[in-house]
């Protein structure tokens, strides 16, 4: 695996943890993604936001991981959203029908 295929960066906004997911989210890096997300799923008193601005590629593997995250947050009654979704990624979210579960916001929802 090239080390830069999928990268993460975390930012704290008021009451939110924002994780920037950059690169290609495919089968090769699926377990890397799951491992990286696990600690954030636990934080039920903060809203978890994935910023996908620099996500270049996703397929059903990655969407499957997002479904898992949606369900994990729902089980904890904890807020979850996705922001700045590129057009090609958005198309796949809409086609598969995952969009309504992602609370997609176009730009950073500052302080929301």
């Amino acid at each position: 695996m090239q080390t830069d295929k999928l990268k993460f960066r975390t930012e704290n906004r008021e009451g939110q943890t924002v994780v920037y997911v950059a690169g290609e989210l495919d089968l090769e890096v699926a377990s890397k993604m799951r491992d990286a997300m696990e600690p954030f799923l636990e934080l039920s008193d903060r809203k978890l936001v994935l910023n996908l601005r620099d996500l270049k590629y996703i397929d059903s593997t990655g969407i499957g991981i997002l479904i898992g995250m949606v369900k994990a947050r729902h089980a904890r009654k904890a807020a979850f959203a996705v922001e700045e979704v590129p057009a090609n990624v958005r198309k796949l979210f809409d086609l598969t029908g995952i969009s309504p579960f992602l609370n997609v916001t176009p730009a950073p929802a500052e302080g929301a």
Partner: protein, 149 residues
């Protein structure tokens, strides 16, 4: 210019080679003047087919491979993703596809979206099972050509 050309790629049936298939597809599709959106569609569809080979075709054989043929005609790009694995699709009849539309958060689950996406993103999807599985993905070139000429 590259009409009727056939490009073939064989890679190990392992997750870390699927992006190489996407890269080669990108090179071919760009030569054929497909639009950015069409190329993205094909990348995902081909990856779904390759992911399935990696995940489902070979039980415990570490030496399994995926063959991808790219055949360009004047009107289509036809991509065949072939394995020599044990099969696993329904032998005949309708292909099972699923998606999340109209489901509740309790009902949705990971998995089972691959074939659905292939069909949503390509103009035609055929699955043949013989010695292994072949998934044939077809995209029309007309729209792309009209855009760039």
């Amino acid at each position: 210019m590259i009409n009727d050309a056939l490009v073939s790629l064989t890679v190990p049936a392992r997750a870390e080679f699927v992006d190489l298939v996407r890269l080669t597809l990108y090179g071919i599709a760009a030569k054929l003047d497909f639009s950015y959106e069409d190329i993205e569609d094909m990348k995902v569809a081909v990856s779904e087919a390759c992911n399935n080979v990696v995940l489902h075709a070979y039980a415990e054989e570490p030496e399994g491979v995926v063959h991808i043929d790219f055949a360009a005609t004047e009107h289509h790009l036809r991509i065949s993703v072939r394995d020599n694995g044990r099969g696993g699709f329904q032998p005949t009849g309708e292909m099972q596809t699923s998606n999340l539309h109209g489901k509740s958060i309790e009902e949705i689950r990971s998995g089972g979206l691959g074939l659905y996406l292939m069909q949503a993103l390509m103009d035609e999807v055929e699955v043949c099972q013989d010695l292994g599985t072949v998934v044939v993905l077809t995209k029309r070139r007309t729209a792309a050509k009209a855009q760039t000429l």
